[in-house]
Amino acid sequence: MAGRARELTRLWSKYAGMNLLTLIRSRRSAAIEIGTDVVLNVAVVSTSLLLAQRFNGIGQWDKYQIFFMLGYAMTVNGALNIFFGYNLRMISRRIGRGQLDHMLLQPQPFWRTFITEGFMPFSEPSVLVIAGAFMGWSAARLPAGVTALWVIALVANLIASGGIVMAFQVIWGAIAFWAPMSAEEISSSTNRMVLQLGTLPLNVVATGLQATLVTVVPVGLTAWLPARELAGPGGPGLGALATPLAAPVFLILAVLTFRRGLAHYAEIGSQRYLSFGHRR
């Protein structure tokens, strides 16, 4: 266990160093990279944010609950940007372009390469910093207040939501094993769906649709449900366990689907190779 952790740390350190080297190539490119990242990510939540501000909330949620949910969604997104860059979050691109071979030719377990190779802690943290500050500011204005239990529940939910987003990305992205060309961009579509639907307060939609959005298409677990449980007046109850309990289920599904895809990949190989986006 300690050996595995050491190996992970060693690889993350290496990729962090390489990320820093890329960022400090020039002040101009660093500023543009960070600036565009912030603008793009804030734009995703701007609709809900402006509506909540204008109408002092949406549905039964007041504006601080909405702000908290948006901060939560941005925090999850920002953390994933840091850990899964270089198209690892858009795994269908790597599969569809035949670039998985590069990962398989490294003397590392595939999962380890998957969680380390896209580590970009220097070029991508801006969103996480802004989102964290925004979430903290709105959390201080929530009716339940911030307690140690609340913080533990928040951290558990954030990790679980991140896991669910990645599981969702991998499950859909694995389609590229069977249809490399047609499904090459499927991960960007699912990612867009998570970003757009995940920042909507789903308490205003019908119950059937709500149920769908926390199970089949689990975008409700990426911000709305955790925020409902954490930002409600009573503080975190048993409902705060829903997302952490659902995450392993989605992750197991993702592992099984990906393994099946990988077995298919070993049978048919890569029928196409594009260098586009590879290690750049």
Partner: protein, 354 residues
């Protein structure tokens, strides 16, 4: 992995072992005609393509083996199977005594694979950064790494561009950097798939010489594919030729040339426009008084042909040309379309040509 930790398979003389390996792909039939395409959209039809058809091959430690064949013959499929990227349908595959798919991690720490059309370099980083990345991911000891970097920089002449961005390199420089990167983990086996593809003459010569040097200085086993015969002849004393997924030849280049014969062209310029009919030579082309014949110098003496021609026509000029190995092999590939020669592995040792 330090050499001392490696299993005793590294002491074995056989580095690559393929026994009766078969690999087929199922491919959907396509059509450029809308009617047919629509019919196939509704009722898809498939065809089975045999990439490898009972291939058996052994490569001993320290050998350099050229793996030749026309496009689509099964060369890249073999390389992918050996590197654990692809599973065979049938047959036994062992590389350094390891099962490439089940023991992928150990295998890839002991081999290196270079695909000519792909790069392992980090595009937006200096070449040196990709080398250091490999040191960390492969877990190479710092002292071994420093020694190998110094070695490959000398061997491949990397000093001039070692600190340049990978994206700024020429194709030849990029390939040399990729070869150097492949070497720093001191692989026991190097699999090179079309390493000279797209290189100009000078870059090609340098890359080929580097591969020869790597083998000589490190005793490394090399399996190199190419469809370019002169390249392979420069590199390897042993050539394995694959055609339509089956081994068509395995042996020394000199034997390969003997098997191919000594095809030549005889060009006669005669006073008469009518070409003389020569026994033992085939008329290929006749243009005015200039006639071109094909013949095998191993079977028909040139002097005899000229005597025949002199007796039948007034000769104004005579010229003979030796066909390049590329042309000869292209002719052979054509001939092989119909007659597939499959070689079976002998119980031990190297496969011999029939």
């Amino acid at each position: 992995m330090p050499r001392s930790d490696r299993s005793d398979t590294s002491a074995s003389d056989t580095v690559v072992e393929l026994a009766e390996v078969t690999k087929t792909y199922r491919r959907r039939r396509r059509s450029e005609h809308i009617g047919q395409a629509l019919a196939r959209f509704v009722r898809p039809t498939f065809e089975t393509v045999t990439a490898l058809d009972g291939v058996s091959l052994r490569i001993g430690r320290g050998e350099v083996v050229a793996y030749a064949g026309p496009n689509g013959a099964g060369k890249s499929t073999t390389i992918k199977i050996l590197s654990g990227l692809l599973a065979p349908d049938q047959g036994r595959v062992r590389v350094l005594g390891l099962h490439p798919l089940r023991q992928r991690i150990e295998l890839v720490s002991r081999i290196s694979v270079v695909f000519g059309q792909r790069t392992e370099l980090w595009w937006d980083h200096p070449v040196a950064a990709s080398f250091d990345w490999k040191r960390v991911v492969w877990g190479i000891e710092r002292s071994d790494y420093d020694r190998m970097v110094s070695f490959v920089k000398d061997l491949l002449g990397l000093d001039d561009f070692f600190h340049s961005m990978a994206r700024e390199l020429s194709l030849g420089q990029r390939m040399r950097a990729d070869l150097g990167l492949a070497l720093i983990n001191e692989p026991e086996l190097m699999l090179l798939d079309e390493p000279t593809l797209g290189l100009d003459v000078l870059a090609k010569r340098r890359v080929l010489q580097s591969i020869v040097d790597m083998n000589r200085e490190r005793g490394m086993t090399v399996l190199v594919t190419s469809h370019d015969m002169p390249d392979l002849e420069t590199l390897a004393p042993r050539v394995v030729v694959i055609n339509h997924g089956a081994l068509a030849f395995d042996g020394a280049f000199s034997q390969f040339r003997t098997k191919l014969g000594d095809p030549r062209r005889l060009i006669l310029v005669t006073a008469d426009e009518q070409p003389p009919a020569l026994t033992g030579a085939t008329l290929v082309r006749s243009d005015g008084g200039r006639h071109q014949y094909a013949f095998d110098a191993n079977d028909v003496p040139i002097a005899g042909l000229i005597d025949q021609a002199g007796a039948l026509a007034t000769l104004l000029d005579v010229e003979t040309q030796r066909a390049s190995i590329d042309d000869v092999v292209a002719d052979v590939y054509d001939r092989w379309l119909g007659e597939r020669v499959t070689q079976a592995a002998p119980p031990s040792g190297r496969i011999r040509p029939r």
